[in-house]
Assembly symmetry: C2
Homo-oligomer: 158 residues x 2
Amino acid sequence: MEIVNHEKFMTEAIRLATENVANGGGPFGAVIVKDGEIVSTGVNRVTANCDPTAHAEVSAIREACSSLQIFKLDGCDIYTSCEPCPMCLSAIYWAGLRHIYYGGTQQDAASIDFDDHFIYEEIALPHERRSIPSTPMMRHEAQQPFEAWRQKEDRVSY
Amino acid sequence: MEIVNHEKFMTEAIRLATENVANGGGPFGAVIVKDGEIVSTGVNRVTANCDPTAHAEVSAIREACSSLQIFKLDGCDIYTSCEPCPMCLSAIYWAGLRHIYYGGTQQDAASIDFDDHFIYEEIALPHERRSIPSTPMMRHEAQQPFEAWRQKEDRVSY
């Protein structure tokens, strides 16, 4: 039976988060683990790198996939210093991670003005009640790429 | 008054999506527009680039921010060939985009086995009912990076 030292990995995610503040980043860190080994790490570089998607978890997922040259992280777990925002949670689903371990909560993040909770609320609303308006158009024409996809015999699905 | 040719931008997003299928990518494209000009484009390169976050909208956001050297896309609109998945919708919120125009729907995407709808459903569930298990741990220690953040006088908030 595999004995996993969860605290070791979470301690590293938290250490990365704290170190990243000193390095001009946001207070978030994550590590991805496979078979008891860290395969990637990530920290929040949104303002430092001008990339609103550079959250710790997204960055760790991108690095793990790039390093392993795969687009699904089967059998991998993520340890993140704070509960994932909806962007990161969705990225975790797309990446097919196995288990999420998290330190701080959405409420802890809100206490330092990172309001992930607002986006969770918005996603749950019907389009017409969200704060960013959303307009459907040209649905008929938009089937063209899907039709091209259906007809492509060597397509790579995921 | 600004007259915006919405169809021109959506046509380009759809064209990029179709072209991307021929180039080995997924059938999705997006353009970001500011002041009537395209500032970035993105296509789905998940399998091609081994990056589960390389959806059209996320890629367009990353490119726009990198090119303009900003981390908030105030006053920018996104035209996407298909309704954003929850990862992309959240990224659109983090980036502060102004308006979303979309072509195909979640249902259209599901018809070619891109099941964004499943992730929307999962996000809405309480942790213990989601298909990816999630375990809180070391919440006390996880306050360290947040405390470092509070104490950092030159922090860049967003």
